[in-house]
């Protein structure tokens, strides 16, 4: 057999064994026995020198061609086998639960608060805040509720055991005073926050709860403005089908004072015609005088409501204490 013939048969054998290799190690082995340092081709190459000078270029060319052919097949077989190796061996069960990262949830009260805040902000309100430990001036006196006023009856107050008769604010309205004392009109703020009343905890009471309140002070602010804004906010918070009704009421720091009832499909499902939802009114001239605003120049309105009540209605929660127990099975529902 001539060298050329041997080359041909070695090439055929190499191609066959590469094609037959079932996996990457077998392929590597086949490659080694063909074109590796101890491979058949390498051995044949060494005999190239023994050929007559004039034959060498042709055989050399044939060598290179055969080697190239093997390399091409090797590369394509390697790609094939690698792809096959990457294929999963068993089918993936897509019905089994995935590996979760366990993202947490925001407390329902935070979510409801933020929805209400967003509704107010869309109308140009800025979020304001004030201390939870208050004094009687900001919580009552400046709000036109003097010490012996019967209206203080309804607000049983926690007092701090420290000099100065500081107390836990019973409503977010104290922030009205704080803001108006330090900022000139016009004012347009929304105040979410914790408030405190001396009520024993039961399904509808917790000594700690949340209120949110809007205050708008400007020139020529009217009851019509109050109604318009209240309607805009509640449509966003309670849905577009909500209907509101305003009826006269009494709060010491507004005059006229109004209570707001609402109704929608949910209220009717509860078997009621109206549900009380908020209180509001035009800021009392005395309150303006107490913060140094001229009531002849400035007018304004305030309205406020409980966040728990909205959250309870929205999510169908029947016990206010659930908010403060923080059972993770409860928290994860929102």
């Amino acid at each position: 057999m001539t060298l050329l013939e041997e080359l041909e048969s070695a090439k055929a054998a190499a191609l066959a064994s590469l094609a037959a290799a079932p996996d990457i190690p077998a392929l590597d082995h086949a490659k080694g026995s063909a074109i590796g340092p101890e491979g058949r081709f390498t051995q044949l190459m060494r005999r190239l020198g023994s050929l007559p000078k004039e034959e060498r270029p042709a055989v050399g060319k044939a060598f290179n061609a055969a080697k190239a052919e093997i390399e091409v097949l090797l590369a394509s077989r390697r790609a094939d086998l690698e792809l096959r190796a990457a294929l999963p061996r068993e089918p993936f069960d897509f019905s089994a639960p995935g590996r979760r990262r366990g993202v947490g949830r925001l407390h329902p009260l935070s979510q409801v608060t933020d929805d209400i805040v967003r509704a107010f902000r869309r109308l140009g309100f800025a979020v304001a805040d004030g201390p939870e430990i208050e004094d009687e001036k900001h919580c009552f006196d400046a709000l036109n509720t003097p010490a012996d006023h019967p209206a203080r009856d309804a607000q049983d107050t926690f007092f701090i055991d420290a000099p100065g008769r500081s107390l836990l604010r019973t409503h977010t309205s104290s922030v009205q005073i704080r803001v108006m004392e330090t900022m000139p009109p016009p004012i347009r703020i929304v105040v979410p926050g914790r408030v405190f009343r001396r009520d024993n905890a039961d399904a509808t009471h917790n000594p700690t709860f949340h209120q949110i309140e809007g205050l708008y002070v400007d020139r020529n602010v009217t009851v019509g403005d109050l109604k318009g804004t209240v309607e805009a906010v509640f449509r966003e918070v309670l849905g577009n089908d909500v209907r509101l009704r305003f009826r006269p009421h009494y709060f010491s720091y507004t005059e006229p004072s109004l209570e707001i009832d609402f109704t929608n499909a949910l209220v009717r499902k509860l078997g009621k015609e109206w549900l009380e939802i908020a209180g509001c009114g035009m800021v009392h001239p005395k309150v303006f005088e107490n913060v140094g605003y001229d009531p002849e120049q400035w007018s304004g309105w305030a309205f406020g409501f409980g966040i728990e009540r909205i959250a309870m209605l929205r999510y169908g929660i029947t016990d206010i204490r659930s908010f403060y127990e923080n059972d993770v099975r409860f928290l994860r529902q929102f």
Partner: protein, 816 residues
């Protein structure tokens, strides 16, 4: 305040259904909280006259009667024996029902039917069948029919004959504290009159005076020693009354609105209080002490310090000098405006009665009532402000009713001591103001109509820019112009004011941006796998002091387990973990953003905190993986804290380990920013403490001061170019003493100043064989890179050797 529909209709005409009335009053600011229909008693039972009684043709024990029911004659078959023609008896008409007997659930309905072949058109009734106790209505208790008085009007409903009320509707009204005038039937009727334009019918107050009756000044003297607290005191005297039960209508009326009938004199004072809003008190005149001249004398004075006084309810109370007492020359006889005294109340044998109608200062009554913990219908009305002009009117009304119901004869005239007369207020209302507040134009004549309808007098002469109005004495809430604006809008109707779309100034407040940071932080924490908790602000002092000794207490806590303000979010979070454990939620990862309170140098201080609490499984449940059962440990808590601090853009944060465990934390560190700024705390709870909440897995807590974080927040970001040249990595594993910390390693690295070092990463900590006891193996990976060229192997080797040498030298490390 409860009131009935019929009662209101006695005072004012209106033709609304109860539901319509409730709606109208509610929209007027007088919220109707309940509407309860009371059916009439003895519906379909009338007084019948027996015209003839004949034997039944087919039964010995029955008779066939002809009776007249007021409309016509009817034939009735009856089994009773105790009556005769001419008697008046109760007849129940066909279609009406008898109340169910004991043990029966269904009422018995009467039908026209044949009894032993004879038709019967109704039934004559016994007391038992009607459910009446004959003794209670002063009738003979006979076996058989209830025989009525001979003068009973034929055809009259039995209820009317008995003085029982007809069908009525009870309205339960929520009266706001500014409107004491509405704590009376008259006040509510006045509002209806203003709405409808129909006149208010006056209560009858005229009473007969005996021509030569002695003047009341011979019965009694009144001396007001505290005119600031008692502006007016009126007294009337009636002699020769007969105290006894009130008639049925009066008892029924009081019961319907929730008052217990007592006797005719006391019931009259209560009735008149409900009618007029003016509390009255009746004294037994003979029990009053006399002055030196032998004349019974009422002294209105302040109590002395520690004075004992026994009120009508039999309780002896210690009074103080701020309390007003009605007294005689020797003793107290009533706690003014709150409750009468046990020593001078109306007795069954009382004959001479003093009727007191007075005005007391609201603040004083309120303080007294609060100090003594004694609230009565009278104090409720006085402390909100009674109508000083109603005192005499109500007293006259009571006198009329006492004479009518209890007999006796009135002494002539009245003692009316009225030392402090406050003129009625006058308020000017400018049309401009109405327009300005309401945003609509209401014609001035209409505004005037509304005000007049509410009893304001005006417009008075001589007013300039607006109209001037005199406020009626009962409207203590009307003080200034804006109050009149409210009256106008009430009567005009809030629903008639059109809503105007939101407009006007754009608001601003420094907290606005902070609110956003808190909300974003909430979402970051949720993204880190924590659920948000909202804990109680009020926690138990014991739990709070476990965390910090400086705790703010409540002066008036509700209970022992909520007696202080939380000084940290940890006590609340521990409670929440315990609560969850009790419900078998063992894997809990929580955060809370809220305020905490501490004793500061200048009084109470509050601040915002982020709290973190972890216990139980590190990962959500999963069905494969080597570390799926891993529990949270301190590194999990620290990792979360690091994410937060990085999000706030804080650099150079240190964790300083507390060398000794505390009674609360077995392992802990304070988180700081530089040497002076404390950012927070992190730690693992002592197992013994955790066990109290039945928490068995490690409990990790962290708390970060958000006020500091916010102040030091750095949100400025700038982009660095990504590296253009490859890096070279070198690893070191070494055995060191247990006391060597990661910070020590980093310090050693810094001291070696290796060139081109880009990053150092701890990738393994190992304890146990073959590492000797008390030592550990640390493995670090070093990344070297130059910004401007590809590093050569030799220069990295040289730099890295300096690091390894530094480890050997300063850490006594043995490279592995």
């Amino acid at each position: 305040m409860k009131v009935t529909l019929n009662w209101l209709k006695e005072l004012v005409d209106f033709d609304w259904t109860p539901a319509e009335l409730a709606e109208r009053l509610t929209m007027l600011g007088l919220e109707v909280e309940g509407v309860e229909a009371r059916p009439a008693e003895f519906e379909g039972v009338v007084v019948a006259h027996v015209l003839a009684r004949d034997p039944h043709p087919n039964a010995d024990r029955l008779s066939v009667c002809r009776v007249h029911d007021g409309q016509g004659e009817r034939q009735i078959v009856c089994g009773a024996q105790n009556f005769k023609a001419g008697d008046k008896v109760p007849l129940i008409l066909p279609g009406a029902s008898l109340p169910p007997k004991a043990g029966e659930s269904q009422p018995f309905t009467i039908k026209v039917g044949k009894i032993r072949g004879v038709e019967s058109h109704g039934m004559l009734c016994s007391a038992g069948e009607l459910g009446i106790d004959p003794a209670a209505i002063h009738h003979a208790n006979e076996d058989g029919l209830l025989i009525l008085r001979p003068d009973a009007a034929v055809g009259q409903p039995l209820a009317a004959y008995l003085g029982r009320p007809g069908a009525d509707v009870i309205l339960d009204l929520e009266v706001t504290p500014n409107r004491p005038d509405l704590n009376s039937v008259m006040g509510i009727a006045r509002e209806i009159a203003a709405l409808t334009g129909h006149p208010l019918r006056a209560l009858a107050t005229a009473y007969p005076e005996v021509p030569d009756a002695p003047p009341v000044s011979r019965d009694l003297a009144v001396r007001i020693e505290a005119p600031d607290a008692c502006h007016r005191y009126t007294a009337r005297v009636v002699r020769g009354v007969r105290v006894g039960p009130s008639p049925g209508w009066l008892q029924a009326r009081l019961s319907m609105v929730g008052l217990r009938p007592i006797n005719n004199v006391v019931d009259v004072t209560n009735l008149v209080m409900l009618e007029t809003g003016q509390p009255l008190h009746a004294f037994d005149l003979r029990l009053l002490g006399k002055d030196d001249g032998g004349l019974p004398t009422v002294v209105v004075r302040r109590a002395t310090h520690g004075e004992d006084f026994t009120t009508l309810d039999g309780v002896t109370r210690k009074l103080g000098p701020e309390m007003l007492l009605i007294a005689d020359p020797t003793k107290g006889i009533a706690l003014a405006g709150v409750m009468g005294g046990a020593n001078t109340g109306i007795q069954p044998d009382t004959t001479d009665v003093l009727i007191e109608g007075a005005w007391f200062d609201p603040v004083g009554i309120r303080r007294t009532s609060k100090a003594l913990g004694l609230r009565t219908d009278a104090s409720y009305r006085f402390e909100r402000g009674a109508d000083v002009e109603a005192a005499d009117f109500a007293s006259r009304r009571a006198m009329r009713l006492v004479l009518e119901l209890a007999g006796g004869s009135a002494s002539a005239g009245v003692i009316d001591a009225w030392p402090v007369q406050v003129p009625r207020k006058e308020i000017t209302l400018r049309p401009m103001r109405v327009r300005q507040v309401l945003g609509i134009e209401i014609p001035e004549e209409q505004v005037w109509r509304h005000l007049s309808a509410l009893g304001l007098e005006g417009p008075l002469a001589g007013s300039g820019a607006g109209s001037r109005w005199r406020v009626p004495s009962w409207r203590v809430d009307l003080k200034q112009e804006i109050d009149l604006v409210e009256e106008v809008v009430r009567l005009h109707g809030v629903d008639k004011i059109p809503s105007t779309p939101p407009r006007g100034a754009k608001g601003s407040h420094p907290f606005d941006a902070t609110y956003d940071v808190w909300m974003e932080l909430r979402r970051l924490m949720a993204g880190l796998g924590l659920n948000e908790a909202q804990g109680q602000t009020l926690v138990s002092g014991d739990a709070a002091r476990r965390v910090t000794p400086s705790v703010l207490s409540l002066a008036n806590p509700l209970s022992h387990d909520m007696d202080v303000l939380r000084p940290s979010l940890w006590p609340g979070l521990m409670d929440v973990l315990g609560h969850n454990m009790a419900r078998r939620n063992a894997d809990v990862r929580l955060f809370e953003i809220g305020r905490v309170f501490q004793v500061g140098d200048r009084g109470p201080q509050e601040g915002w905190r982020l709290g973190i609490a972890l216990t139980g499984a590190r990962h959500p449940a999963f069905w494969s993986g080597a570390d799926r059962d891993a529990k949270c440990d301190l590194a999990d808590a620290k990792g979360i804290v690091e994410e937060v601090l990085e999000w706030f853009g804080l650099r150079g944060v240190t964790f300083t380990r507390q060398p000794e465990p505390t009674s609360f934390l077995i392992e802990s560190a304070s988180i700081g920013l530089g040497p002076k700024t404390e950012l927070g705390q992190i730690g693992q709870v002592q197992p013994a403490v955790a066990r109290r909440g039945d928490l068995r897995d490690p409990v990790l807590l962290a708390e970060i001061n958000l006020d500091v974080l916010l102040a030091r927040r750095n949100v400025a970001r700038s982009a660095k170019p990504l590296p253009a040249f490859p890096s070279i990595q070198r690893d070191v594993a070494m055995i060191v003493e247990e006391s060597v910390t990661h910070d020590d390693v980093l310090a050693a690295v810094r001291s070696a100043k290796p060139a081109n070092l880009e990053a150092v990463e701890l990738f393994d900590v190992f304890r146990g064989r073959p590492v000797p006891e008390g030592q550990k193996s640390l493995a670090y990976s070093f990344t070297y890179r130059a910004a401007d060229r590809t590093l050569k192997d030799e220069e990295v080797t040289a730099a890295h050797q300096r690091v390894v040498d530094a480890f050997r030298l300063s850490l006594k490390a043995v490279p592995r």
